[in-house]
Symmetry: C2
Subunit: 259 residues, 2 copies
């Protein structure tokens, strides 16, 4: 009996037609049987939103290439993963990959990221899972150099598995003239988005705001994702969804909470 090919779920937050997910599907088809369940429209910045007050719809899409099935979903990235596992796939996939996101999900952006929430949702379900992002927001972003490493990292995860509770957050530097120097396993930098709201007035005279902002790295460590991305390395941060700040438990026990 030959070992069956691994079953791979592919999703993203930029929507099923985005160039990033098309690249990811193509690469994953070289490694296994690919099922795509992805949002029918862009869902960037949706964090770990789920849809509890509205209905969800699935729509089969024309399969472009070697995927087994492609389905678009009206919900968020986390909804896509929940529906894929419960309504589309017969058995849990061996791997879930999300992306390749058009834009960075390094450091604090992991918190706001729909791409990463899909990967985390799969992790919560016990599925080895990776989010991929390219630090380039442009429409014509060049995903070509990421392909080799996407396959490489996915193969390693299929081979080694991941412990319960751990998901990988992989970011690729924007393509420069020189090739990527390699992959660095690192920690999430302590960084912020420094908001600047753009205040405007509508034709009826009413004020409104657009959220804009600038990224600010507050972390001078040489072991962070931001540090290595700036050196033209691919950053790989293992993340967890146990948010407990274990180091604080003893300190809080010294507070007068029960007096």
């Amino acid at each position: 009996m030959t070992k069956s090919k691994p079953k791979i779920l592919v999703t993203n937050d930029d929507g099923i037609t985005a160039r990033g997910i098309r690249t990811l599907i193509k690469e994953m088809c070289k490694l296994g049987d690919v099922y795509v369940v992805a949002p029918d429209k862009p869902q960037s910045g949706k964090g770990h939103a789920i849809t509890i007050d509205a209905i969800l719809e699935l729509k089969p899409q024309k399969v472009d290439g070697d995927a087994i099935k492609e389905i678009s979903c009206t919900g968020t990235p986390a909804d896509c993963v929940k529906l894929a596992i419960n309504e589309v796939l017969d058995t849990k996939p061996d791997l879930c990959v999300s992306g390749i996101n058009h834009g960075s999900n390094s450091s604090i952006s992991v918190i706001y990221s729909g791409t990463m929430s899909a990967a985390i949702e799969a992790g919560i379900e016990g599925i080895p899972s990776i989010g991929f992002s390219l630090c380039d927001y442009s429409k014509d972003a060049d995903f070509s150099a990421a392909k080799f490493y996407v396959r490489k990292i996915a193969k390693e995860v299929l081979q080694n598995g991941l412990p319960d509770g751990v998901v990988l957050n992989v970011n690729f530097p924007k393509i420069s003239k020189s090739p990527y120097k390699g992959i660095k396993v690192c920690r999430q930098a302590r960084a912020n988005w420094r908001e600047k709201f753009d205040k405007r007035v509508n034709p009826l005279g009413k004020e409104y705001f657009w959220l804009t902002g600038e990224f600010e790295n507050l972390d001078s460590g040489e072991d962070t994702d931001e540090y290595w991305l700036a050196q033209n390395y691919i950053s790989l941060v293992p993340i967890q969804f146990d948010l407990t700040a274990h180091h604080m438990i003893q300190k809080l026990n010294n507070w007068s909470l029960n007096e």
Copy 2:
């Protein structure tokens, strides 16, 4: 010169008129100068969503009680905190409190919670911050027994501060006949929502889904929030937004990522 009263930002995810936030505002007015910026409609399950593809509006509300200002916002809980800090308040608040949520945000629910995303957003901005939730989804949920503890925990945070990167997640058991036994500092249980999609057909014959599910605690530890809530204790989990799984870094360095 007398020390000025602490400045407290109050927000939530159930919307500015919810009974939980009205209780929280009333209790916070006993401790400091209260500014309210909260969603104009329910935003449950919105996770750490932010609004990047639509406009945001603020609307002053009639102040009910002793708050300095009350403002509703068209955005998500995280948007409310960003706008409060950047457009409503002159200086950063000394404390941000979010809730009291109508429903549990213990264990894995912290990931999906709008209440906790508001608290985390304030934490990212360096503001000591607490999310409060009552494990009772009913419209007539009884917040009375929580009041004393909400003030107690807020006072402790105002006095002791919180280290950078740490936010508190406080859950109150549903009111039973016996009084709360006290506060337990604990860790986030490893639990899941076991989804069950309710599949229906619309009048045009098209299938759609409602997300439903059952909570499943996979964690038999006696140091978790779920364990202590079940014993009628208030759970207090220190959480962090550095998601790095630090224990995995060395293991991943043993993979063949760069070969």
